[in-house]
Amino acid sequence: MIYQAIGLQKQFDNGKVAALRGLDLEIRQGEFVAIVGQSGCGKSTLLQMLGALDKPSAGTLKYRGNSIPDLPDPAAYRAQQIGFVFQAFHLLPTFTVLENVQIPMFGGNLSRPQRKAGAAELLESVGLGHRFNHYPSELSGGERQRVAIARGLANKPGVVLADEPTGNLDSESALQIIDLLLDLHRKLGVTLVLVTHDLSIAARASRIIRMKDGRVISDQATPTN
């Protein structure tokens, strides 16, 4: 079991807004899980809890048996275990593509040439070998998301958390990004947790979790995958 949530709750504004209301969930190693639901159902909040970007208000949330809110070094967890891919790409505008991919590598023991070579390899693998010295503003949406994926894989994480990765893309780019993520999932064996409200994308996952009002309302394996 890679993730286990029991009775997970998250409130905002001093309890006035409840995003998660006692959510139970288990995710196994190597799964491709799609989390679907309407906006405001708490799926992005859940992803933030999984990635230790925020702390739950109540309940248990464990990563490989260790409580995520109590991790002694959440930064190391985010750096080493998790790769994030966001809807808004979240690239650093003043750094080139090659530099953006190196940003997560600063915590490790890699030398400067090793960081550069690693980033170059990752960018080649997402098909951006020709874009090293471009700035994010010079790229298309699909290309930016590829950079973000390469950055997410910078430290060879076991888990990729993708929050609406195709939400800002046209349908063709969206398909390419999903293909790329699926490809990485298969080749690298990473656990892929993908939040989306696009059911056609969710259908490509091995398992679909539906959320409503901060709880899981259905959890089913997709037979075709």
Partner: protein, 371 residues
């Protein structure tokens, strides 16, 4: 790409703002270098002058600011009889505006006293006697006043002929107008008054004996002070005031610099909240983010310090050459002062970055990402 690249990139992304911040901090540092350099230069000049004249102990009423208040010349005779005193000479020294020069040192020296002996005559002659109404000029004084032997110099209401040009072997001596004490007293309306007695002690007098001599002098001249010449600069009230003014003015300039850097750093932290969120999300430790912000502000400080020292040196050189200062203060282009100034600037940078760095490290990644 290194950590330093990241630090540098955030300073170069807004060149105008970074430039203006640098101007702010460098003005502060330039003020330190210029003002303190002038004060140190003045102190050094006085110390050199006493050395050039060959004085061991100076007696004066030090409470009167830069130029001490006058006292009765009869003191000299009393002081001269004290043990270990080999020679004593009376001086009446004033700073006055002379013709076009805004401020000039004018030294009326007891005719025949040792204060006259160390200067070397370059042109013309020395005054003939104590009563001759004539002056000799130090080389710089002659240059500043544009006078040569045969011209006259107007001091107060008297026109006095220049009879000689002398080398006094120290900047302050060379910037001085010399005349006989009698004439000086007459011209400035200080009959029977002096404001310095310079004393030479027997050669090889120990420090303790000199100090005893100072105490003896204090005994017969309680309202005045006797000081070992090497300590005059350190203890004089006038110098303390100059030092305090130069440092406090500099401090104000530095505070303005601090506020400038702090404002800039706060703005960069605010506007980069989102980016800091990204850094946290990809696993940067808060420590590293604090280090990044502090390095940025320290770098601002360092650059500001370098520019400021450059401006300060320029200021010192310009001031040193200006008519009011030339021959009077030799600005102190002291490498130690420059290093101190750069160090101050870096510290200023780091201090200014503390609050912004602390703020940035308090961000919750998920909240920062949404901004």
């Amino acid at each position: 790409m290194t950590f330093f690249t990241i630090v540098l990139r955030s300073l170069t992304r807004r060149p105008v703002r970074t430039g203006l911040t640098l101007v702010g901090i460098s003005i502060g540092i330039a003020a330190v270098v210029t003002l303190v350099g002038m004060a140190w230069g003045y102190e050094k000049g006085v110390a050199n002058q006493l050395d050039a004249v060959g004085t061991d102990v100076v007696v004066s009423n030090m409470s009167g600011g830069l130029m001490p208040k006058v006292f009765n010349e009869s003191l000299k005779a009393k002081v001269a009889t004290l043990p270990r005193v080999v020679d004593a000479t009376s001086i009446l020294m004033q700073m006055l505006s002379v013709e076009d020069a805004p401020i000039m040192m004018i030294s009326g020296r007891e005719w025949g006293g040792f204060a006259w002996q160390k200067m070397s005559l370059l042109e013309g002659r020395m005054p003939k006697n104590a009563a001759e109404k004539a002056v000799v000029l130090g080389t710089l004084a002659a240059e500043v006043l544009k006078k040569k032997v045969g011209d006259t110099v107007q001091i107060e209401v008297e026109e006095l002929p220049v009879v000689g040009i002398v080398d006094g072997h120290a900047l302050m001596e060379n910037g001085t107008i010399f005349l006989s004490l009698k004439v000086m007293q007459e011209v400035t309306g200080n009959d029977g008054k002096i404001n310095f007695v310079n004393i030479r002690a027997i050669p090889n007098t120990s420090k303790a004996q000199i100090n005893q001599l100072c105490r003896d002098i204090h005994g017969i001249f309680p309202e005045g002070r006797a000081m070992v010449s090497t300590e005059v600069v350190g203890t004089s009230q006038g110098f303390r005031v100059i030092r305090a003014i130069s440092w406090s003015t500099s401090l104000l300039a530095i505070i303005v610099g601090v506020l400038g850097v702090m404002n800039t750093m706060l703005m960069t932290v605010f506007e980069r909240t989102h980016e800091i969120g990204i850094l946290l999300a990809v696993g940067w430790r808060r420590r590293r983010i604090v280090a990044m912000v502090l390095c940025e502000s320290a770098l601002l400080g360092l650059l500001g310090g370098l520019v400021g020292v450059g401006l300060g040196v320029l200021g010192l050189v310009t001031l040193g050459a200006s008519p009011g200062v030339r021959g009077f203060i030799e600005p102190d282009l002291n490498p130690q002062l420059m290093l101190i100034s750069i160090a101050i600037s870096v510290v200023v940078g780091v201090i200014s970055g503390l609050y912004p760095a602390w703020r940035s490290s308090r961000l919750t990644p998920s909240v920062a990402l949404q901004s």
